[in-house]
Amino acid sequence: MGAEHAWLLAAIPAGAFVVLALFGRYLARGGDWLGIAAIGTSFALFFVVLADFLGTGSGLGPFAASIDWTRIGDFSFPMGIYVDPITIVMLAVITTVALMVNVFSVGYMKGEPRYWWFFAVLQLFAASMILLVLADNLLLLYISWELVGLCSFLLIGFYWEKRSAVEAAKKAFVTTRIGDVGLLIGIILLWREAGTFNIQEILHLAEEGHFSHTYLLVAMLFIFVGAMGKSAQVPFHVWLPDAMEGPTPVSALIHAATMVVAGVYLVNRMLPAFEVVDETLLVITIVGLVTALLTGFMAFAQTDIKKVLAYSTVGQLGFMFVAAGAGAPEASMFHLMTHAFFKALLFLAAGSVIIGTHHHQDMGELGGLWKKMPITGTTFLVGSLALAGVPPLAGFWSKDEILVVLDKQWGPWAVSLLGFAAVLTAFYTTRLFIRTFLGQPRDAHIAEHTAETPPVMTGPLVFLAVLSIVSGLVVFHEVGTALGFPGGFGEFVFLPTHGPHAYEFDAAFAGGSVVLAVLGIFTASWFYWGGRLDRSTRLAQWQPRLYDMLVNKFYFDELYQAAIDYGVLGFSYVVSWFDRYVVNDTGVDGSAQLTGYTGYILKHLQSGRLPHYAMSLALGVVALAVAGLVMRG
């Protein structure tokens, strides 16, 4: 049992999905135990794979075997897995968060209809996501990419009796589909020149200069478009906030920790190729920066706690892309990992709030929850501090790393922009925490009935809180070697062209990061502490148009809707009109009517009058005679 059995991590939840989908409703407790057992087994097996992987030494994956599933001439459809440090990090994240979410859902989804189906799809999702990170070729990756999209669709639309949930699910699927078009085009373009779908082979060919510069540039940009779609980067970000319609555990698992980071994973995976056409790196960085800044602002004006977290996620994904764009997968994946833990924590805690307050999630109705929900409150605080980047919590280390590599690659302008985004992050996070947990409750009735949630829900919160505190420390060489790794995070995950990178403490940057975090926290506190809303209300009234823009999320949704209504649907109406009135009524029915009309005209030849017939006879004879003479002569 070793790394070559890593596919079992996907197969076991897949099997659980089949059983649950077919028989779930008949099992005791809707089969939630089966789901937990399956993902728990994957979680346990992960450590086996990890141990085996570390034992054989870091570097290339030990399992490079793949099966040619079908073959047509020289086109073969391969199936294989590839395990390397990036894979390991992803597997750690996926199995851990999935397990926590499954356990949490036992409490959260209690009493909901279709309970069994929820767990079934969670298993399918886990299986697909694991397959995605294990895939050694772009084809298999694309298949799992689509499958996780399907699970996202099914889960966002879980409460399908609600029109808003249905629309959100549709929006998510179609928006990511548009990105997927780009991804597929990019994949096929790469295959066309490389002759293979195998990722490592393609990366080698790219480095050897097998592709022409322009061709590779175009292909990699298309691939990045796919990543943008799935990871909700601007301008594809519109689906993620709406995805909050789904049950909160789904938001934690899929829309924070795992599926949305698939784009980040893909970019990091293909980074050697992006490096060859390094214009793409600038594009990636800019997209990440723009996203981080825009969503940072958008998060200000939201009052739904889940929406704040959603925008926060999009922004943090932007941070991860920025790191990748700086050519530093170690920073990008590090932040991916820490963010997965503390963001999942925050979402699950929000879920705890929702259950504890009997389904209320608007800050306007909450406040002062700390007293009634101490565990949730504490863990939420831990998550918030981690998100804001306060040392020694995990978020500080990963965010700091990103600032460092950003400076090395692009210089001060980029650092200032991202630094500003970090301040925004700290600001809205503090705002969220203060308005939800501190001060006086805004609605006495809700506060009256609030209670802490049971251990099945608070347990995962505590576990994730612990991870949010300690997981940042793996950046240190000593901690890494103590755990069995070759060193700190940067010595485990790195680009082959750059080599391993041991952590060096840069006091200036560390100090700077702390300052940014504190700046954000204090500013928010000044506005919101003590329930004093008058300052923030005055701010809103000071620049009403700006405030409206924020509340309406810079009108992206309205813009898109108009484009769809007038552009796409308009085109569709034109096509339908054309089809019905030109092609059909004129072309087909028209030609039929023409035939009929010709018949109508011709029938008048039958006048019934003898002289007419006699005349035609005569003329006919003359014509024949003339023709005969002409042909003869």
């Binding site: 029938k603 039958q606 006048s607 019934g608 009058r609 003898l610 002289p611 006699a614």
Partner: protein
Amino acid sequence: MVSLEHYVALSGILFALGVYAVLARRNAILVLMGIELMLNAVSLNFAAFASYLDPERVTGAVFAVFVITVAAAEVGLALAIVIRLFRLRATSNVDEAAELKW
């Protein structure tokens, strides 16, 4: 000397007169007379050619006999129809017997 050309011209004129009668006259009897005229013109033509170009076997005259026979049969039938039409319609005007049409 009367030559072949004279006969051909004569038959041509007779034929033309016959065509005129068929196409331009309204009375059914006159149409039939025109048809007879055409047939006789044709017979004359055949006989003339036979006599001038093929005197031993006079093949053309044989044709002429056939034509006369057919003409006789056809006129009998045609007159029968015309009389029937007259009895039904009290007219022998061809323009008015135009029922078999669209």
